[in-house]
Symmetry: C4
Subunit: 178 residues, 4 copies
């Protein structure tokens, strides 16, 4: 009698995915990790994100999930994306090994650029890996309708990846100072 | 002592409906079907949609529910609709028998076209049934105010038909790797 | 040990109120009444609304709550309001005795008209009561900032007064057809 | 086995923070305090707000939290902020000692002014304390992307700081008039 409603499931698979000629793109929220403080409070331990996953087509309508590449959008990068006007573009740079001894050896960049006719955006993920000597580029054209889904779903997810859905009123009639 | 809050009800009837001269139109969300994986996770089994139902007027303010026609908007079609500017239009094509031996025999199309004065949209559902040899067209004019209700309610429903409301934080104090 | 979170409270008082020179205006949602069907489903019995209450000033910063007048915005009227551009106006007419023997004897109208400089709207409630032979007019100027609060809060409330927050997934592992 | 989901945590730390050259700015909701009425209802006792905190940089990437200054945005001030167009500005004045014998002795003002190139806003908090004879000014430039995060998160929080998330349907099958 396990229930979704009781929140005790381990992992949810509910991505929004678009499949195009050369690659596919899927998006799903990664919620923050919370931890309990000795004071009784709760703090955000690891920030949440919107995880974008790109994976290439290998033949018509077949895609190779093994070759997937991730790009985790921070809250501010999500803000940049949902704020894009029809002619705007944006670009983000990530170093997955930042702060480690491999810093600078893998560079990921995501660019979002408008179609010239305003009918959507190109999402391009470029991964330059100087350890494996690889340079991969995955490009997915996203229509205005698909972008509207992302904008709406990302706006829904944004306060949640920030942990703001955890602010809740104290139960009535309880006091903590006496 | 049954409660709505405990979520154990079977079915909710809470459509948004507009009744016009020649037909009525109602909209309500269909949530995704989830299933539990052996891994303990949960995945979206069947995607959700916004179900539009059209049914014809038979006399003044009387409508024939038996002659209803459905059109289930996918997440991307909802994105297209909530993204419509005052002068924009869109059109969607569905084959309810797709992938069966009857594929291509019933064709449904929904078009949403702006009133010439910008005061709303015409929602037109056309169902061509080559098995029953029928061709039905149901047209409902939707005012800007009614469209604003749909836009707001569909934006609320969109992350939910995608299953994104099921992403929830793990209970604190539990670990999965040890 | 009563809790807000357990949802068993009788009534919530959490209006958004603005106090101006000649009258005050407050707004709060009225949720729909739901009833259980023999089939096990749940339907919306009485639709929800956003209740607007106007009451007059009697002296500086003193208001007479006894003279309050209500106007319950339907979902579509809320749609009209949240859709208003800076130069748009709208007007709604209600007959509180509609369908009774007093139909037509009390007429309420609410008009929302932009300030000439685009800095907000006038909310004017006119109540003509032909039984009591009264004609009252209550006008509250609403700034753009206050209107933005209403737009955001009404957009939050709209799916809820429609009952759309009650659409929830079935618990996993239960089936209804076997 | 304490859980975030059961809502019994004392305090949540999930601010949205931006760190800039001369100061840092963080924002988080303060929910309203509710109290139970003898009638069984619940009312908002103390209104909620969005708490902004500014604190100065003392050296490169080091900030002095001890010198923090707060500014609590009311619902209407949040409405003003989320309504700002790219060229708009707004300014709010608070007296933290209002209604006490120290009224007028400390004056806080928050101004939000657009960058000349439309790429964001300057958030400037000025605190003039005539008791301590201090005059502090903390300025944080906020990019359009960061402002979009605030707009989306503040729009999420606004109905909640107003207490509107507490409006819930009565459990089915219960009546209060018999």
């Amino acid at each position: 009698q396990s229930s979704v409603a009781d929140g005790r499931v381990d992992k949810i698979f509910a991505s929004y995915s678009v499949y195009k000629g050369k690659a596919a793109l899927s998006a799903s929220p990664r919620l923050p990790t919370l931890s309990k403080l000795d004071s009784g409070g709760v703090k955000v331990d690891r920030k949440g994100s919107i995880m974008l996953t790109f994976w290439p087509a290998v033949s018509e309508r077949k895609y190779d999930w093994e070759k997937k590449q991730h790009f985790a959008l921070s809250a501010t990068e999500v803000g940049s994306m949902i704020n894009l006007g029809p002619q705007d573009s944006c670009e983000f740079f990530h170093d997955p090994a930042m702060l480690s001894s491999n810093a600078g050896k893998v560079r990921k960049s995501l660019s979002i650029k408008p179609h010239s006719d305003g009918s959507g955006y190109f999402f391009s993920l470029n991964v330059v890996n100087n350890i494996l000597k690889t340079n991969e580029r995955l490009v997915v054209p996203v229509t205005s309708a698909e972008f509207a889904v992302m904008r709406t779903a990302f706006s829904f997810a944004l306060p949640r990846i920030m942990g703001w859905d955890h602010y809740t009123n104290q139960p009535l009639g309880t006091t903590h100072n006496n």
